[in-house]
Symmetry: C2
Subunit: 165 residues, 2 copies
DNA sequence: ACTTGAACCTATAGTTGCTACAGGGTTTAT
DNA sequence: ATAAACCCTGTAGCAACTATAGGTTCAAGT
């Protein structure tokens, strides 16, 4: 049996360590411990010495989480998605709602980022390469009037916060 | 003279308080104090009672900062831009370099966000509205193979970190 | 059995750019 | 004189990790 399990990759009574788990989901051990702390992954079985050991289920769950995070879903959204994926009999309406909402946020962010890009292009395009004194970039930054779009290309925040649930 | 200054908006010996300053640059007093802490704005003159008072120069500087932040420049980038705008005789090469670099980052982020949007659209579009069991969204999240783009649509980080300097 | 070195443990602080308190003091207008 | 509106400092919080310090355990080789 252990040959079979070796082929699968995880022996039943043994399991893999946190490093190997992290490698399989393309993240770091710290991230896994973080997910455990915030309750996205269950507390792992421990060896006598206190080290975490994981099985196939944990690998699948972590890959799901990392993939959803890759898609930009917030940790809270991932938590909801996980809850639902644990209940296969449920209607997937809510899953769809979360994904659709997220898509909308990504689209609105895209629009604002495009406006920002246009404004930056204009700014950079107008720099004649002289002295700071007459630098178009500095001027635009000093005077909002010089922007085409009336205020708010999304703003710095837009580039920071992930779209939530 | 105080009538004239009232017209300008800031009396010479008096100055405005932090609240008024913040209002003029469309931010909050806390933000101004934060900028002071990190050295983006100078320490203000204080009243006898210890309250900050500002003049026109501070208003201009803060507006510049907020505008640059609106453009998505990081605080560190803003610091450099400020240093340069303080030296009008310098060549604006470096200004241009910062802005161009920032533009490039915005553009690359846009691309990844577009890929993400496409993937999300596909995912949402394929949801047939049945049970979670057969939910296409859950499936895609469980299995990266189902993505069109080979891995890495930018990732969650992309939606969080602002583009730096 | 022993030793080495990689992997692991916990707890805590740092990242970015603010924002939000708590628990006071000051200014200004009536 | 008193109240409303403003301001002060210091600290903690947000998201989602990442990094570090200082120690323990595991697995493999000799």
């Amino acid at each position: 049996m252990s040959e079979h399990n070796a082929a699968i990759g995880i022996g039943i009574g043994i399991g893999i360590g946190i490093g190997e788990l992290a490698r399989r989901a393309d993240c770091k051990p710290e991230t896994v411990r973080y997910y455990e702390r915030v309750g996205l992954v269950d507390e792992a079985v421990r060896t006598e010495g206190g080290q975490r050991r994981y099985g196939e289920a944990a690998v699948r769950r972590l890959i799901f989480i990392r993939h959803a995070r890759d898609f930009g879903f917030s940790v809270e959204a991932v938590r909801e998605l996980l809850t639902m994926s644990d209940r296969p009999d449920m209607s997937c309406q809510e899953v769809d709602a979360i994904a659709t909402h997220h898509l909308e946020e990504v689209e609105s962010r895209l629009q604002r980022l495009e406006a920002l890009r246009d404004e930056l292009r204009r700014m950079v395009g107008q720099c004649a390469g002289g002295k700071v004194e007459s630098c178009r970039i500095i001027e635009v930054l000093s005077d909002h009037q010089l922007c085409i779009s009336e205020h708010d290309h999304g703003g710095a925040d837009d580039l920071k916060h992930g779209p939530h649930s």
